[in-house]
Each structure stands twice: as structure tokens, then as C-alpha cells.
Subunit: 211 residues, 2 copies
DNA sequence: AAAAATCTTGACCGGTTGGTCAGACTGTGG
DNA sequence: CCACAGTCTGACCAACCGGTCAAGATTTTT
């Protein structure tokens, strides 16, 4: 009878290895970029022989594509809080909270995403044109409704969204610069809270919400 | 007597070639990243044989370093408007104008800079620790003075600066995403103005300045 | 005009990279 | 216990990369 004495079974091992590879790949792609990353480096970081990577992911590009899709998924899920809110203060505030949390917990993934978009999105252009486009238009409509209801100042919804993305993602993509300016040490828990508070405070006041 | 019939003279040609190479390198580094860029690609884009690149820039890294330093220079010069202003509305407003202008006119350079910082600043870490650190502390002091004088809301100066950097740079680094969401076409002059206006409006109102 | 200094370039090289593959290994179903 | 499908890996390869170099071309200096 096939019990799992050790975490061994055909399917378990497969999932485990894939996860190991994807995590290593995310870090290496983030630190070196797609062009600078090597399968050997990813293999070393995952603790597997290089040929094993090519068993699970036939090409470097397919591995990269999976990493990008994973972070895009996380990115999209943060949007849920936006929909559940019944007003701009709650909706945008919670969205900033969620995106700052992603920046803190998935800095590598955020960098991979940023790098992909900066390089003209060679592998996820279709996502931008479909999923992201729909998402953006949907939220822009919500914001416009809030404006029409007089619950916030009339600002261009798209530029507001860009500002939300830019500001929150900055704490992931440029964390090295922020660390350097912070005396070479990573932000503490309290400093992350302060950062989130600052961002929320300025933006919410900026769209006419008094807390 | 050495007249310049055609744009030929030793020093002129040198400057011309270096400029040609640096412009090509900026584009290629921006599009492919340091690791993905090849000297051959840069040479082709500059219309020169590869060996010629190595005459002017001994290594790929030295060429890259020059590109990064150039954009850093432009970046720093935008700060002048900050100092000349005698209040937050004028200072921060003009700074946003200047940085949006850079994003528009030097998207490639901005991307190279972003990429460099994202990859933990392997070649310009010393700049971050010295020049950028001093710059940041200087402007933070100015902002704190404005706050003490009651000319703007008490916000953390550093997080305000990060927001300025993030928001303005976003229009360069993520211009492909913005173009896609704009229906696949680049922002028009009017749209750039609208973007700048939106950013200024939200941030200035966000720090308590009523226009 | 000759010599010196600077510039240009095709050909070349050692090292690295993504990817392949034959064969060993291992859990699984009968 | 066996046969089979799935998993693993060392060795290998063609392609490509950054960088070199010698020899020629061009400009500057004497």
C-alpha cells in the first residue's frame, strides 16, 4: 500500500520539484534579468542538476513564462479588495494595503513582472491586451461612479490607477535603493507600516478623502 | 591647414562615434537588459563593426557604466528646479514637470537606470551611497522646513520623494503597458499634459496644497 | 614627405550557454 | 515479482558571446 513515509510519491515529487524550481527561477530572473539568468544558476539555487530543469520545463522561456504568470495571478488577486469595498476610502485604502503587502512579500516576483513589462512584454503581451485591459476598465468605471456620486474629487481614473501601481510597486522594484537610503538596512516592520500609511495618507487626501 | 570639409577631424570623429555608440547602447540595454544585450547588437544599431566598439569602450561593462552615468546626470539636473523654488507648490510642481519631461524624452535611459537599481546596482552602488544619499537628505530637509513653516501637511519627506520618483518614472519604465492600455498607441502631447496635470493635482492636494 | 599617432576592421579564440540524449533509477499497477 | 511509465542525470554539442590582435588606413605632427 503506497503510504507517503517520506514526502515521496510520483505526483508529490513532481509538485515539489516544480515549486522548488519556480522559486529559484523567480529569484534568479529577478536578480539577473532574463538574459542574465542561466539555467545552471537556477539549478544550483534549486539544488538540482541542470538537466532536471529541462525535464520539467523544456526551455528557459517556458520556465520564465510560468514565473511571470504566477506573479500576475497574485497581482490580480489583490484586486478583490477593490470590488468588495463600498466606497473609495475603503476600496483604495485596502488596495494600497494589499499591494504594499505584495511588494513586501514578493519583491522578486514584482521585479520579474516589472522587467517583463519594461522589455515590451515579449511573453505576456496577450495578457496585457485582454485580462489587464478588462481589469483596468472595470476599476476605472467603479472610480468614475464614485466620482459621479460625489464621494471623491474628479480625477482621471487611469492616472490614479497608474499612481497606485507605481507607488506601491516602487517599494519592491527599487527596494535596493530604498534600503541604501535607509542606511543599508531593510525596512523594519514599523517602517513598512509607516510607508503604507504615508502612501495612503497622501493619495487619499489627494483624491479628496478626509480621514 | 586642417579645415573640417566634412565632419572629419580626429576629435570630431571620436565624439561622433562615442555619441553614436552610447545612443545605440542605451536603446539596446533598455530593451534587452545588461545580460540580454550583445555588443554585436549595439554595433549593428550604431552602424559600426563590433571591434570598433571595443576601441572606444574596452569592455561591455565600461560602456554600460557610461550609459548609466549619463542618465544619472540628467536625473540629478532635474533637481535644480527643486532648489530654486521658494515654496512646496512651486518646487514640487516644477519637479514633477521636469521628471515627467525626462520620462517622455529619455524612456530608454530611465529603463536602464531602473534595471540597474532593480539588479542591486552592481556598477553604481557608490553613487547611491554618496551623491544620491546627499541629494535625498538635502531635499528632505527642505521639505521638513516647508512643513515646519506650515506650508504643507506634515508628511514623511522620504516617502513623498519615493512617490514622486515612482509616479513620474512609471510613465517611462512602464510606457509599454500604458501604451497597451491606451489602445496600442503612444500618449499624444495632450495626453502627456493630462498625465502631468493629474499627477501634480493628486500629489499637491495630497500634501495639503490647494491650487 | 616621412614619421608618428590614432583609428578601423576582418578574422580569430577560449569560455559559456541553452538544450539534447542515452541510459540508470524508481515508484506503480497487475 | 515483473513490466512499464515516469523520473533523474552525467556527458556531450552546436551556437554564441565578449574580447583580442595584427595589419592596414587615415590623420596629425615633425
Amino acid at each position: 500500500m503506497p503510504r507517503a513515509q517520506k514526502p515521496n510519491s510520483k505526483k508529490e515529487r513532481r509538485q515539489e520539484s516544480e515549486k522548488l524550481i519556480l522559486e529559484a527561477a523567480e529569484k534568479v530572473f529577478a536578480e539577473a534579468g532574463f538574459g542574465g539568468a542561466t539555467m545552471q544558476l537556477i539549478a544550483d539555487m534549486a539544488g538540482l542538476p541542470k538537466a532536471n530543469l529541462h525535464y520539467y520545463f523544456p526551455t528557459k522561456e517556458s520556465l520564465y513564462r510560468q514565473v511571470v504568470q504566477n506573479i500576475f495571478q497574485i497581482w490580480l488577486e489583490a484586486a478583490d479588495v477593490f470590488d468588495k469595498a463600498d466606497g473609495p476610502a475603503e476600496g483604495i485604502g485596502a488596495y494600497i494595503d494589499a499591494k504594499m503587502d505584495i511588494s513586501r512579500r514578493h519583491p522578486a516576483g514584482s521585479k520579474v513582472w516589472a522587467s517583463e513589462v519594461m522589455h515590451r512584454a515579449p511573453v505576456i503581451q496577450d495578457y496585457l491586451e485582454t485580462t489587464l485591459m478588462e481589469w483596468t476598465e472595470g476599476r476605472a468605471a467603479i472610480i468614475e461612479r464614485w466620482i459621479a456620486e460625489g464621494r471623491m474629487e474628479p480625477v482621471d481614473p487611469r492616472h490614479l490607477l497608474y499612481m497606485l501601481w507605481a507607488t506601491t510597486q516602487h517599494y519592491a522594484d527599487f527596494n535596493h535603493q530604498i534600503e541604501t537610503l535607509n542606511g543599508g538596512t531593510p525596512l523594519s516592520d514599523a517602517q513598512w507600516d509607516a510607508a503604507t500609511q504615508s502612501v495612503k495618507e497622501i493619495i487619499l487626501r489627494g483624491i479628496g478623502i478626509t480621514t
